[in-house]
């Protein structure tokens, strides 16, 4: 049983407290309704893992971009138009046949927002934060990813302002796919490191 999903403070209480805060901030002129609306809209519609998938698909098909992305993730990602909060420095981690990377934030839930959007609940869960650094293979196996002991697992604990994005391996047999088809193979989970990119359908 997870400790994350069941909590005693009811969401209704939180909603009331959130309304009280919003009312005061609005009345005091500290924030505008438009700004709140627009921030919510951006994260619900624009800023999500599709951004990261576009970066990954480009790296799969453009060797020069791949080299740039691994050398200077922040700039190469900015070249795609993605930057902003939690993205002042983004480092891209290359999964290979011998190295698998997995990203976690044990102290809170740091996450590369510009390329992945806001994190899913499981990434924020106490179970993931506590376990990923101590038993990454067991965690990966629960996500269905059973890695041979020959493959080195590297766990990245995002504790500073640097944010990490995993570049999954391109699945075999996808060399002739279009950019749009490749983007569709790149799941959010594969860019956190708890999954491989999807194979061709």
């Amino acid at each position: 049983m997870s400790d994350t999903h069941h909590h005693t403070h009811s969401s209704a209480d939180a909603e009331i407290r959130a309304k009280a805060l919003e009312s005061l901030l609005i009345e005091k002129g500290l924030i505008s309704t438009d700004l709140i609306d627009e921030v919510v809209r951006q994260y619900e519609e624009d800023i999500g893992p599709l951004n990261g998938a576009r970066v990954v698909a480009r790296a799969w098909t453009d060797p020069d971009y791949r080299e740039w992305l691994l050398r200077d993730g922040t700039q190469a990602i900015a070249d795609m138009g993605y930057h902003g909060r939690e993205g002042s420095k983004i480092v891209v981690l290359e999964n290979t046949a011998s190295v698998h990377n997995l990203v976690v934030c044990t102290l809170c839930s740091c996450y590369p927002w510009p390329v992945l959007g806001l994190p899913p609940n499981w990434y924020k869960s106490y179970a993931y934060r506590a376990r990923a650094v101590r038993e990454p293979r067991k965690v990966l196996s629960e996500f269905g990813l059973i890695l041979s002991e020959d493959i080195e697992v590297r766990v990245w604990d995002s504790n500073s302002e640097v944010r990490y994005l995993v570049l999954p391996e391109q699945p075999a047999g996808t060399e002739t796919l279009s950019s749009e088809q490749l983007i569709a193979l790149v799941s959010r989970d594969s860019m956190i490191g708890v999954a491989h990119a999807n194979g061709p359908v």
Binding site: I31, Q42, Y126, R154, S160
Partner: protein, 221 residues
Amino acid sequence: MNSIHDMGGMHGFGAIEPEQDEPVFHHRWQGRVYAMAMYTPVPVPGGFRYMIEKMSARTYLTSSYYEKWLHARTQGMLESGYIQAAELAEKIAWFTANPDAPVPERHDAEATRKALSRKAPAAVAGDSNQTPLFDIGRQVRARNIHPPAHTRLPRYVRGRCCTIDAHLGDWPVDDTPPAGQPHAIEPLYRVRFEARELWGDDAEANNALYIDMWQSYLEPL
């Protein structure tokens, strides 16, 4: 601080439970809390994370993610004097009695455009006066510190040995600085801990932990 938030390596939190087709926000209030937390132009005294870490362990564990954000933003406004406890209590009482009442609105397209185009106020690389002390490949040890306020040096690596993997430039140290002082700027390193160094015989096979450490977090062997 050694609060419950520093949970790397702990047991007792059960299984990881991914949700299929999870929405960005599960409730409308969560998105609004996110926006208020990030875009209200008033800093949280001591820092946003420190405000969350000061929650009691039980409150922390029984509060959901955005409830913690709501707490930090609200408490920050109270402590910085922008909101008074009495007016907050009054608003809460009013919305408790009138749960379907609308929140007042204020529109300002120009301010919204400006706020969204402003560069994020998060820490960016700065200039340190410190020479990097440790070369890539050098073995060092994470210091054993137990500060009473926010730190980015988690318990599970303290006192353990690691290898310098990369220099990441100079960055402001995110720890709560001493009262009245700015954040120090120090060289930041990426380091690698072998799993056996962290977990002893209980470590899993062939894995390592990478984490970023400011220079003052590290000591020579």
